[in-house]
Amino acid sequence: MSLLTMKGIYKGFPGVQALTNVQLELKAGEIHALVGENGAGKSTLMKILTGIYEKDEGKVIYQGEEINVANTKEAQELGISIIHQELNLAQDLTVAQNIFIGREPRKFFKLFVDEKKLNQEARELFEQLNLNLDPTEYISNLSVAQQQMVEIAKALSFQSKVLVMDEPTAALTDSEIKTLFKIVEQLKQDGVGIIYISHRMEELKRVTDRITVMRDGEYIDTVDTDETTIDKIISLMVGREIYESSEPKSITGSNEVLLEVKNLNREGVLKDINFQLKKGEILGFAGLMGAGRTEVARAIFGADSIDSGEIYRNGKQVKIKSPKEAVKHGIGYLSEDRKRFGLMLDMDVKTNIGIASMDSFVGSVGLTKQKAMEQQSKEMVEQLNIKTPSVNQEVRLLSGGNQQKVVIGKWLTRDSDILIFDEPTRGIDIGAKGEIYKLLNDLAAQGKAIIMISSELPEILRMSHRVIVMCEGRITGELKNESATQEEIMTYATQRIG
């Protein structure tokens, strides 16, 4: 009998249909994998299950009854818990204090926390789970794996019958993963149903019973783990449909290397990154979330410091220690999180376009040349077809695609000839995506060199001349576009060490 059934789930956000008719069935004592590319809708589905989001349509049946969970607390009380990818523990409290936060045992007319009882209860919980943890230890003294264990213990202290684990092994070492799997197996014996989200295929093969695949917010299939192969799962994940490539790819014969990176290293983040970027080229960076692609971009741009490595600009070695120096060397960075790292939302279009080039808009006595700036931004608005009533419009009132164009305008105004696009179409609707693609092609045709980081494989294949694939901070593959396939990229992207 099934412990949990979700069926016909729909969820829309402004501008995006996140889930369309999605289903999921979980049995007691089952480890059920939920897989799909970034943006496939796994997290959204889990957030609906645990009451973080409200579903638009559909049914959630739990232990034979339909439930409508309003918030996380209600879900926990019902016995549905989630362990998030990023840990949510208070670093300056102890293990036991974290586990029982919000429901501490009290004493003396409920005025004081009964620390003794608190620790005792935690100890009993650990015994039950065969965990070797000291309840009085501070979280800040624990390793990531131990913190993960605390999260699991916390989730189970609610007598959970359904446990969602979102990328639980992402930050763990191999021996820590083994310990985690032991606990997972034990929970399974106790009849807990586990929904296990992971990108690591070998892991799924090892621990799960069934696998449900999602793609583009839709349910694709549920298969028995024993009766399938990793390749089969990957092809279900990426699907067959490719974006219609109406845009002819601009091909350049240029061999001029604008940027070369040699042996870039950053402890624990990047290892031996080597690549060249040529004039007129779009170089795709593929990989899963956390593979280190954004970190490469930030390192080149001087936003994060590096431990070692050399950067060559037009054959000459350069030192880039801050974004200011990167900008001076003609590099522009368009962050995946425009609102946090790319725009001043409360300021107008013209300032956002001019901000990287203020030097050229300053007159003799330090006064800004308002007219020149306005003129330049008007040109950009026209050239990039930015839809805004005027250059004095606040940027936060523009759509995602137009905001992205404003950031592009900023770097074009600065005459940057190396542009790093980090997820250029994230949060942009389909129509505007095409426009951004066309813009990227045009820029490449004009001789700009472009690095395009993207988690969308069709986008990578459609746009780039060459593809670099990363996994766990290393470059695991480099492919010529003509020969690259989604499956091939996925294989490199999941190529873990050991």
């Binding site: 974004p323 790292f341 001043m344 300021m347 330090g366 006064l367 009533p389 600065r414």
Partner: protein
Amino acid sequence: MKTEVSNPGIEKRKSKLPFKSGALQQILAFSSLIVLILFFSITSRNFMEFSNIMNILLSTSVIGILALGTTLVIITGGIDLSIGTAMTLCSVMTGVFITFLGLPIPIGILLGILSGGLSGFLVGSAVAKMKIPPFIATLAMMMIAAGLALVISGTRPIYFSDTPAFTQVALGSIIPGIEIPNAVLIFFLMATIGYIILNKTVIGRYTFSIGSNEESTRLSGVNVNRWKIIIYSIAGLFTGVAGVVMAARLNSAQPALGMGYELEAIAAVVIGGTSLSGGKGTMVGTVIGALIMSVLTNGLRILSVPQEWQDVVIGIVVIFAVYADILRRRNT
């Protein structure tokens, strides 16, 4: 996006409001000022007399100049608690240069103002380079400046009795015929300078930009640390000017004064519609905010409301000013 038009830059969107969103608070503040003035002119016959109006303006000048400088800092998303006692320190330094060292008055004034700039530079460096939160860095500077003012002056007021011309800096009148004290003129001059810095120069651009999104600004290749130091230093120069005006008005440097002035200045800035979370604010608003505070104080005094109750009223005004700002944000 219904408001989008295909021909950008040429057509303008018809705005729902007749002014930009940030201007509402300012208009609100300005109408409050008018209402207050009307109220006091009706309730008290003396209020609208020329001498009383000059009185109000004169008492606005010092706090007003402080508020103008600190508006810059607050727009970056920072705060400066040191301006009150730093102003006192500048008064004392002016006394040291003119009375103790016997330097010519203009040079003494210049050095007095520069000591304010130095104090701002130090605070700015602590904030930008040492990454000390502005609240803490300026709290420390507030104490340091208060202590130094007492140490340097030997805890006694420094009088400018040997240089009777000095007091004319604040109380004299440079415009013949009209008895407007120079302190008031200096206030308006500084307001104009502040307006130009904030709206016409690259410094002002970066001030807003840092306050609006510091990380985006940094990633646009702007040396945020350097500009922060510059902004705090400019605010410090304003503090220096306030210190000189204060000393000239009292014809002495009073080393024990100054504590609490920073809060009045910050209140004026906030009443004027500048957001404490940064990115938004105007110099005109600050001028209006400072005027509201002194009109209130003056009017209530004329109506014989005791000092204690005046403070209560101003506190309530601050609450409503900020609440109006929050309501405005919620609506946009």
